[in-house]
């Protein structure tokens, strides 16, 4: 979150991809850093036991949201 908040503050639109279990942590961290409005792209947890193909399928589901985070669209 530190990096994402830094890039946004410096003018770079950033999409940070996290798993659902970390939504609360990410929000708390962003708030503590002064970025209450910071939004993330959330994938279902868990990810570590998944195969390469299963992880790639998550990317297919998430791509719309990634694009939406980065553009005015």
């Amino acid at each position: 979150m530190h990096d994402g908040v830094f890039f946004e503050d410096q003018g770079l639109p950033t999409a940070t991809v996290i798993s659902a279990e970390f939504v609360k942590a990410a929000r708390a961290q962003a708030e503590a850093l002064g970025a209450r409005q910071y939004q993330t792209v959330v994938l279902p947890h868990p990810i570590q036991p998944l195969t390469r193909e299963e992880v790639r399928a998550l990317a297919d589901k998430a791509i719309d949201e990634v694009l939406a985070r980065l553009t005015k669209g």
Binding site: M1, H2, D3, G4, V5, F6, F7, E8, D9, Q10, G11, L12, P13, T14, A15, T16, V17, I18, S19, E21, F22, A26, E31, A32, L33, G34, A35, Q37, Y38, L43, H45, P46, I47, Q48, L50, R52, V55, R56, L58, A59, D60, A62, I63, V66, L67, L70, T71, K72, G73
Partner: protein, 95 residues
């Protein structure tokens, strides 16, 4: 006297408000950095995101960068490099 005044605050509010970046209308012609935070599987996700970004937009370039460890913020040098060479960032994968 309010109750809280009877003892001192053990916390510290340090947050200074941060800005959110201005969004472009599309990613056409933009340089996109895909930042791998070095957690396992992040590279698989970013490989597919790279393919999808090429299908869905016409970026000028897609750059792959990697943090030495997910357990710390990116080193200053890497942050400055990303700032100087890219227009938008996708960071993955915190789980």
């Amino acid at each position: 006297m309010p109750k809280d005044d009877r003892y001192l605050d053990p916390t510290d509010s340090v947050a200074v408000p941060r800005k959110t970046a201005h969004r472009p209308p599309s990613l056409d012609g933009k340089v996109i950095t895909l930042l791998d935070i070095s957690k396992p599987k992040g590279n698989h996700l970013l490989d597919r995101i790279e393919e999808l970004l090429k299908e869905r937009a016409k970026p000028k370039a897609i750059l792959r960068r990697k943090k030495p460890t997910f357990a710390r913020p990116a080193p200053d040098e890497l942050r400055q490099q990303i700032l100087s060479e890219s227009d938008v960032v996708v960071e993955a994968l915190a789980d």
